[in-house]
C-alpha cells in the first residue's frame, strides 16, 4: 500500500543526511565529551558543531544553547528551573495558556499542587492568546509566563514578541515552547525578546530523544538534572553525542530549506483544506487561518467520531491525527478545541492534517478523493452520531 504521512506535527522522518551524521558519530566518535584526551575532544567537537547549527536556527549565541532529551524536558527545565530560581524571592505565580502542550500544562499543574499559583490564559475561538489577557493576569509576584509559539493541534502562531515584552516589563521570565515552529518558520530569540525557548529535534527531521533549550545569557535558572558539569553546569549527564549530531545536521538542513519548503508546503496545505471543505459537506476549519504555521490544518467533520475517521483513513494508508492521545493510545477530547470554547462534539470530531517534506500534490489529491466516501460510510453506519 502506498502510504501517505500527514502527521508531521507528531514527528517527522529522519532525513538521510541526518542519519549519516548520526551514524558517523556512533561509528567514529565514541569518546566521552568530558574527557580531556583526543577521543573526548573529538566528541566535544561534534557537540560544539551541532550547538552552532542549532543556535543559528533560532538566532541565538551557541553558548546559550543547552541540549536536552527533547521538548518535554526543555519545558520542564524552563518552568521548574524558573520556579525554583525565583520562588525563594517570593515570585510564586506562574502563567500559561489553556492550549499549551501537556509538557507545559501538566508541569504547571504539578507545581500548582506544590504551592505555586497558576493562571492559564484563555483563548477565543481563533486559538490565539490576547496580550490584554496577559496584561490582566500579570502580577508583581509572577515568576514565569510560558506561551507556546505555535499550537500543535491547530497551528496558530501566538504573538509572543508582544507577550514577552509585557512579561518582562513586570520582571517575569518569558518562555516559549517552540517545538512546532522550529524549522517551520523563522525564529529569532533576540528579536522576539525571549528568556527561554525549547525545541525538539524530531519535529524537524532529526532524531527522537534530543532537543535543546535556549537560555538567555545571565538568566537565573536552576538545573533540573543535577550531576556532572556538562552543558556549562546546566544539564548534567553524559551527552547523547549521536543524537546531538543528528539535531545539528537537521537544524542545518531546516535553516537552509525553510523559506523554500514553507513556500512549497503552504499552498499544498491550502489546497488540501479547500479541497476537503468543498468535497465533504459539514466541515469547518478550526482556529484562525491568518496566523498559522504553513503545514497544519485542523478540520471538524460534522457527525463523525474523529477516532473512527482516523482509523478508517489509516486503513486506507493515510496517517493523520487528532488532539492528544492518552496513555493507552486512545483519543481524548481535544483540550485545545475545548479551550477555544467549542461544544463537546466539536472537540471529538476534528482531524489534524500536518504536511511536511515528503508531501506532494498527488498525496493531497488522493486524500481529497478518498475522504468523501469514508466520511459518508461512517456517517451512515454510526448509530449514535455526533452532531457538529
Amino acid at each position: 500500500m502506498q502510504r501517505i504521512y500527514f502527521d508531521h506535527n507528531a514527528t517527522t522522518p529522519v532525513l538521510p543526511p541526518v542519519v549519516d551524521a548520526m551514524a558517523a558519530a556512533l561509528r567514529e566518535e565514541f569518546g566521552n565529551p568530558s574527557s580531556v584526551h583526543h577521543f573526548g575532544q573529538r566528541a566535544k567537537a561534534v557537540i560544539d558543531q551541532a550547538r552552532s547549527s542549532v543556535a543559528a536556527l533560532i538566532g541565538a549565541d551557541p553558548s546559550e544553547v543547552v541540549f536536552t532529551s527533547g521538548g518535554t524536558e526543555g519545558d520542564n527545565f524552563a518552568i521548574r528551573g524558573t520556579a525554583e530560581a525565583l520562588g525563594p524571592s517570593g515570585r510564586r505565580h506562574l502563567i500559561g495558556t489553556t492550549i499549551e502542550h501537556e509538557a507545559v500544562l501538566n508541569t504547571l499543574k504539578a507545581l500548582g499542587k506544590r504551592g505555586w499559583e497558576i493562571t492559564l490564559l484563555p483563548v477565543g475561538e481563533t486559538g490565539i492568546v490576547s496580550p490584554d489577557a496577559l496584561k490582566a493576569a500579570l502580577r508583581d509576584d509572577t515568576a514565569l509566563v510560558s506561551v507556546m509559539h505555535a499550537n500543535n493541534e491547530i497551528g496558530t502562531i501566538q504573538p509572543i514578541a508582544e507577550l514577552a515584552r509585557l512579561a518582562r516589563e513586570r520582571g517575569a521570565h518569558f518562555h516559549t515552547d517552540a517545538v512546532q515552529t522550529a524549522g517551520k518558520i523563522p525564529i529569532d530569540v533576540k528579536a522576539l525578546g525571549l528568556d527561554l525557548l525549547s525545541i525538539s529535534a524530531h519535529k524537524f527531521y532529526g532524531p527522537k530523544g534530543v532537543g535543546a533549550i535556549w537560555i538567555r545569557r545571565g538568566l537565573r535558572l536552576l538545573p533540573n538534572v543535577t550531576g556532572g558539569k556538562q552543558e556549562r553546569n546546566r544539564r548534567a549527564g553524559t551527552e547523547n553525542v549521536a543524537g546531538i549530531a543528528g539535531m545539528g545536521a537537521a537544524a542545518e538542513l531546516a535553516r537552509a530549506k525553510m523559506a523554500e519548503e514553507s513556500a512549497r508546503v503552504a499552498p499544498l496545505r491550502d489546497r488540501l483544506e479547500a479541497g476537503i471543505l468543498k468535497a465533504v459537506h459539514g466541515t469547518l476549519v478550526n482556529g484562525a487561518v491568518s496566523a498559522r504555521v504553513p503545514n497544519t490544518t485542523n478540520i471538524s467533520f460534522d457527525r463523525i467520531e474523529a477516532e473512527s475517521l482516523l482509523i478508517a483513513l489509516d486503513l486506507e494508508g493515510i496517517a493523520v491525527s487528532t488532539g492528544s492521545a492518552c496513555s493507552s493510545g486512545t483519543l481524548e477530547p481535544s483540550h485545545v478545541l475545548k479551550a477555544m470554547g467549542f461544544p463537546a462534539h466539536r472537540t471529538q470530531n476534528s482531524i489534524r492534517f500536518s504536511l511536511g517534506a515528503s508531501s506532494t500534490a498527488a498525496d493531497v489529491d488522493r486524500v481529497i478523493a478518498v475522504l468523501p466516501g469514508i466520511v459518508d460510510k461512517l456517517r451512515n453506519l454510526t448509530r449514535t452520531p455526533v452532531r457538529a
Binding site: 473512527s308 493507552s328 483519543l331 453506519l381
Partner: protein, 346 residues
C-alpha cells in the same frame, strides 16, 4: 481483543484462514487515575492485545468507549443494584456495546463482522434464521451472556473459538506462538476487580447507601442494614443476623428498603416472569412450549414450559421448584444446546 487468550486466538485463527482482520480493543474506563485497574482491558491487557496483533500481522486500534461503557453498562449496573436487583453487566456489554457501538464502528471501517473470543456458536439455519448454540466446551460456555443478541447482531457476529474447548484454544495459542497462551482467565466483573460490588455501587451512587430493615417472613425486624445494594436474592453471608438455622435473602424491596430473609426452603420458586425477552431461534411461540431454563451463569438448566406474554415478556414454569430466582439476572431458554431465547428476570 481484550488481551486474553480467547480473543487473541480468535483473531489469529481468522487471520490464518486468510480473512482481512482489524484488531480492535476497547478502553472502558479511565486508566490514568490511581484507582485500581480492572481485571480486563487494563493497560497491561491492551499491551498484550497490541503484541498479539503485531505477532499475527494485523493492524490494531484501541477505541475509547469510556463514555459509552458508563452510559450503558455501568449505569445499568448501578441502577439495578439500587433497585434491589442483581445485574448481569456482561450480557449488557455484549448486546449494548460490543455488538452495538463497536459493531457500528467496525462496519464504518468496512468490516463485515465482529469476531470475539466468546465460547458460543452462531450459525444460520436453512430458512435463514441465525441460531445461537452453546460452545463445544460446556465449562466455558458463554451463550448465557449472549442471549440478548438480535438477529441483526447475530448475523454480524463470529465466534471463532466457539467450536473449541479451552484446552484446545490454549493449544492453538501455543501453536501460533502467542505469548498469552498461558495467561490466566479473567474472573471478576472487569470494572470491579476487587469483587466488592456494594462499595463500587455506593461510590457511583452514594444515595443507595440508605439504611433499611432486615425482616423475617412474618415482618418481624431482625436487624438493620446499610443499603439494598448490598444484597442479592439467595445470599446467606454478611446478613448480620443469626437464627437457629441459616437465613437467606428472599426478597429485596428497594422503595421501602426492606430485605426479607428466611430459611433455605423458602427460596424455592416454581414460576418466574421475564421482561425484554429476545427470541433467538424462533419467533415468539404462540402457546406454551417445553424448554429448559438457565437462571444464572453456573445454573444447570431446569426443565419447564415457557409462554410468551405481551410487551416482550414471558412466563416460565419449572417442573421442579428452583432456588434463588434472582431479579435482574437473565433467564435463558435452551433446547439442548440451542438458545431458544431469554429475558431479564422480573
Amino acid at each position: 481483543m481484550s488481551g486474553g487468550v480467547d480473543s487473541s486466538v480468535a483473531a489469529a485463527l481468522l487471520a490464518e484462514q486468510g480473512h482481512d482482520v482489524i484488531g480492535l480493543s476497547m478502553q472502558l474506563y479511565d486508566q490514568r487515575g490511581t484507582e485500581t485497574f480492572g481485571t480486563c482491558c487494563t493497560l497491561d491487557d491492551l499491551y498484550d492485545a497490541r503484541r498479539v496483533a503485531d505477532a499475527i500481522g494485523i493492524p490494531h486500534y484501541i477505541l475509547n468507549f469510556e463514555r459509552q461503557f458508563q452510559d450503558t453498562v455501568i449505569s445499568n449496573f448501578v441502577r439495578e443494584y439500587a433497585a434491589g436487583r442483581t445485574p448481569l453487566p456482561c450480557a449488557h456489554c455484549n448486546s449494548d456495546l460490543k455488538f452495538a457501538t463497536l459493531l457500528d464502528r467496525a462496519r464504518g471501517l468496512g468490516a463485515e463482522r465482529v469476531a470475539t473470543g466468546h465460547y458460543a456458536r452462531v450459525e444460520q439455519s436453512p430458512d435463514g434464521r441465525w441460531l445461537l448454540r452453546r460452545s463445544a466446551d460446556p465449562d466455558k460456555d458463554q451463550s448465557y451472556f449472549l442471549f440478548s443478541l438480535t438477529q441483526d447482531q447475530l448475523a454480524r457476529a463470529s465466534f471463532p473459538v466457539g467450536a473449541l474447548k479451552k484446552t484446545e484454544v490454549r493449544a492453538q495459542a501455543r501453536r501460533l506462538g502467542l505469548k498469552v497462551a498461558e495467561k490466566p482467565d479473567s474472573q471478576e466483573i472487569c470494572f470491579v476487580p476487587d469483587g466488592d460490588y456494594a462499595a463500587f455501587v455506593a461510590r457511583k451512587e452514594p444515595a443507595v447507601a440508605r439504611a433499611g430493615a432486615i425482616v423475617d417472613t412474618g415482618g418481624r425486624v431482625l436487624a438493620s442494614h446499610e443499603g439494598v445494594h448490598r444484597f442479592t436474592v439467595g445470599q446467606r453471608k454478611g446478613l448480620g443476623v443469626s437464627g437457629p438455622s441459616p437465613l437467606y435473602v428472599l426478597k429485596i424491596e428497594a422503595e421501602s428498603g426492606q430485605v426479607t430473609v428466611g430459611p433455605r426452603a423458602a427460596l424455592d420458586q416454581t414460576m418466574l416472569t421475564a421482561s425484554g425477552v429476545n427470541w433467538v431461534s424462533i419467533e415468539a411461540p404462540s402457546g406454551s412450549m417445553p424448554v429448559s431454563a438457565q437462571i444464572r451463569h453456573r445454573h444447570r438448566p431446569a426443565a419447564g414450559r415457557v409462554r410468551a406474554l405481551d410487551a416482550g415478556r414471558a412466563e416460565f414454569v419449572f417442573d421442579t421448584p428452583q432456588p434463588a430466582i434472582t431479579p435482574g439476572q437473565a433467564v435463558v431458554f435452551y433446547d439442548r444446546d440451542l438458545v431458544v431465547g431469554g429475558g431479564w428476570i422480573d
